[in-house]
């Protein structure tokens, strides 16, 4: 596309009919108040905390619904809370804006958030400090809402960092276990690396366009060099890789499973990790001006989804499988974004939120039932014991596998189509579009396979563990059912009845796509899902000996997969350890030896000079006479001759 066209479309897409004065802040404020109350009241009465928090989330959801319905076609609400700070040429408002994209995100966040709150009441029922948990959880909602409601980059950044903090706190919720706390720290720090990139992007934008308001930025964009756009886009993408766990910064997400499972569901599957995708969608007008950056996004995303899918193949920890699956699915979303189909990315974000939240909650239910056993080899046959959980889990598995008419199919299908046609809008993608699409299909097969594998190992066969599993309480089952329902029909509804594409076309570029396909066609297009599911069913119910043999066949490969490509170890060996040693060396070597040494050395030299000159203090008259005489002669002659 021509540069000017792109710029024009960007300007068009950010040109809203804005309505001032809507009290958008209330959406975010409710969870904040809830968070405070949950802690304070929950401290007295532990059980009340969950209900307070859930109520706050639900109320917030209600508000969102209210604005969602009030939002006119192609319009937006704006709420300028106050001027946050301003100095020199930098002026930042605390600005909320509610447009179609935000609406979708808000609905997902508060809707699924409410469900997960509800679920947590049951899940955390026995925890001693659950008031703290709900406090954090509500705080997370608050941050996440700031993130999606933020009308400029900095408010977004506030939420961005806020969710990072909550994620840190929630991962390390059981902080007595130091490795959990370390996982939290790791998440925060890896996120910070991304944030650094994000910050740089903000600086670059401020410097070159003088605004960080999304709308104003959209209006002002254009005119700068492609290199600059690429640089900004890449910096933003670095931020996104941190938050959304893409290569090379994805390593924190599997570790983050240390947190309570509802947390994994809410933060590390449905909402927070998709913030990166949201960011790309928000800044799409910038990315479309940087074709190279989009290729990079695609490449990274593809690599991530493939690697994560491969690792997920061999994991035995049910949450780890889901975690890698999340990474892989996030890769899919970025693939869509990289292909220029931002609305598809959001589409997948939404459907993924449905089924992945459901899967995590299901796994949580299982874990809860098995008394915090997470190893799938210790499970099996749970389908009979906890039918609700099993049923919802299976539905979601089919959804993620991309089998029509489950939710995942529609978004995935769009992604692969978008990849195939990405060359139309981005000439750099021409050569790779097909290739990317092919690999993405392979990943889809893998996804179907490992998810089915996990469902089989958990619910089919006979129980291999030692505890006495039981079905979860109603507060936990209800959210599962709702989510499973959404995972079942959500995709179809958004594709046809509710038409997400149509809804988003005023804020995101939506390319005209062909007439909707028939049901049979869609079943046909679900062949990768069928392939994966079928293969897994075959291997893990009938030919149960084959997988083990397969692993034995190529030990290095399976070891490599089981050990997650040694990413952690490589980072540790190449970056963390050397850096720490370097720091230590800097302290001992540079700071203490060289700098302080030279300071003390100077002092010592002066001191030694004193000692040396003191030698003249012999106490002997003759020497004094001699010194004085000699010095006198020296000075006289010195000035006589010179």
């Amino acid at each position: 596309m021509e540069h000017s066209t792109v710029v024009e479309s960007a300007q068009h897409l950010t040109h809203h009919v804005t309505t001032q004065g809507a009290a958008l802040g209330i959406i975010a404020l409710l969870p904040l108040v809830g968070s405070f109350l949950a802690f304070v009241i929950g401290k007295k009465n532990r059980d009340s905390a969950g209900w307070i928090a859930t109520l706050a989330a639900a109320l917030s959801f209600g508000c969102v619904l209210n604005y969602f319905f009030a939002l006119p076609e192609g319009g937006a609400f704006e709420h300028r809370v106050f001027e946050w700070f301003s100095a020199g040429n930098i002026s930042v408002d605390f600005l909320f804006r509610f447009d179609q994209l935000t609406a979708v995100m808000c609905l997902v966040v508060t809707g699924i958030g409410s469900l997960i709150h509800l679920y947590s009441i049951g899940y955390m029922a026995e925890d001693e400090s659950r008031h703290r948990f709900f406090c954090y959880l509500n705080l997370f909602l608050f941050s996440m809402l700031l993130l999606v409601l933020g009308g400029n980059l900095l408010v977004l950044f506030v939420g961005w960092e806020g969710v990072g903090l909550c994620s840190y706190l929630l991962i390390g919720f059981w902080f007595k276990n130091l490795s959990f706390a370390a996982a939290g720290k790791k998440a925060f720090i890896v996120n910070r690396i991304g944030d650094a990139g994000f910050l740089l992007a903000i600086f670059l934008i401020l410097l070159n366009f003088g605004t960080i308001d999304f709308v104003e930025l959209g209006q002002r964009i254009g005119g700068a060099s492609t290199e600059l756009y690429t640089l900004i886009a890449l910096c933003l993408f670095v931020g996104a890789t941190g938050k959304s766990a893409q290569i090379p910064l994805f390593v924190w997400l599997p570790d983050a499973m240390a947190g309570p499972t509802p947390v994994s569901a809410l933060i590390h599957a449905a909402t927070m990790v998709t913030a990166g995708v949201y960011l790309l969608a928000r800044m799409h007008y910038l990315f479309v001006l940087a074709p190279l950056a989009m290729v990079v996004v695609c490449t990274v995303a593809l690599l991530t989804s493939l690697v994560a899918a491969l690792i997920a193949l061999v994991q035995n920890d049910i949450k780890k499988v889901l975690a890698y699956s999340t990474v892989s699915q996030l890769g899919f979303m970025f693939l869509a974004a990289g292909a220029g189909a931002y609305w598809v990315a959001v589409f997948h974000l939404v459907t993924h939120a449905f089924f992945k939240a459901c899967l995590f909650l299901g796994s949580g239910s299982v874990i809860h039932a098995c008394h915090h056993e997470q190893d799938m080899r210790e499970m099996g046959g749970l389908g009979k014991i906890m039918p609700w959980t099993a049923a919802t889990y299976w539905i979601s598995t089919l959804a993620i596998a991309g089998i029509a008419p489950f939710a995942g199919y529609y978004s995935k299908h769009h992604i692969i189509t978008a990849l195939q046609t990405s060359g139309e809008s981005n000439s750099l993608m021409l050569a790779y579009g097909e290739c990317f699409a092919t690999v993405a299909t392979v990943v889809a097969v893998l996804t179907a396979f490992y998810m089915t594998r996990s469902a089989c190992m958990t619910f089919l066969g006979s129980y291999r563990g030692h505890s006495h599993p039981h079905e979860s309480p109603k507060t936990m089952v209800l959210p599962l059912v709702v989510l499973a329902f959404l995972a079942f029909v959500g995709g179809y509804l958004l594709e046809h009845q509710l038409s997400l594409a149509g809804y988003l076309h005023s804020v995101l570029p939506v390319h005209a796509h062909g007439e909707s396909e028939g049901f049979l066609a869609s079943l046909l297009h679900s062949w990768p899902g069928f392939l994966g599911v079928g293969l897994a069913l075959l291997l893990y119910t009938k030919l149960t000996v084959v997988p083990a043999k397969l692993y034995g066949l190529v030990p290095p490969v399976s070891k490599l997969l089981a050990d997650k490509f040694y990413f952690d170890e490589i980072y540790d060996f190449l970056i963390v350890k050397p850096l720490y040693l370097f720091s230590f060396g800097l302290w001992k070597g540079a700071d203490q030896a060289v700098i302080d040494g030279s300071v003390n050395g100077t002092a010592a030299v002066v001191d030694m000079t004193g000692e040396v000159v003191r030698v003249t203090e012999t106490g002997q008259l003759r020497h004094y006479g001699l010194f004085m005489f000699a010095a006198g002669v020296f000075i006289t002659i010195f000035y006589l001759i010179l």
């Binding site: 003191r614 203090e617 012999t618 106490g619 002997q620 008259l621 003759r622 006479g625 001699l626 005489f629």
Partner: protein, 100 residues
């Protein structure tokens, strides 16, 4: 002819002898005598200059130096005696309690 220079050189020679003696001798009394040598050397110069300029300021100076020398003799010898009383020696090398 004997010029002022001759006297001056004599004076300087004597002064140098005094300085050298001051530096190399250890016996306090001899050191004292070396100081006297130096003073007398200056006296020679003064008198020669007085003659050269034809006024008596130089000779008055010499007179005053003699007074000073006398006073120095009194004080110096008293100090030497005091030192001898406390240290049982007039060797300046031994008088090195105060050092470093």
């Amino acid at each position: 002819m004997v010029s002022v220079n001759h006297y001056l050189i004599l004076s300087l020679l004597m002064f140098s002898i005094g300085v050298t003696g001051f530096v190399i001798r250890k016996n306090a009394i001899v050191v004292f005598m070396c100081v006297e040598l130096m003073l007398n050397a200056v006296n020679i110069a003064f008198v020669a200059f007085a003659r050269m300029h034809g006024n008596l300021d130089g000779e008055i100076a010499v007179f005053m130096v003699m007074v000073v020398a006398a006073a120095e003799a009194a004080v110096g010898l008293a100090i030497i005696i005091a030192l001898f009383r406390n240290a049982k020696s007039v060797d300046t090398d031994d008088a090195a309690e105060l050092r470093l």
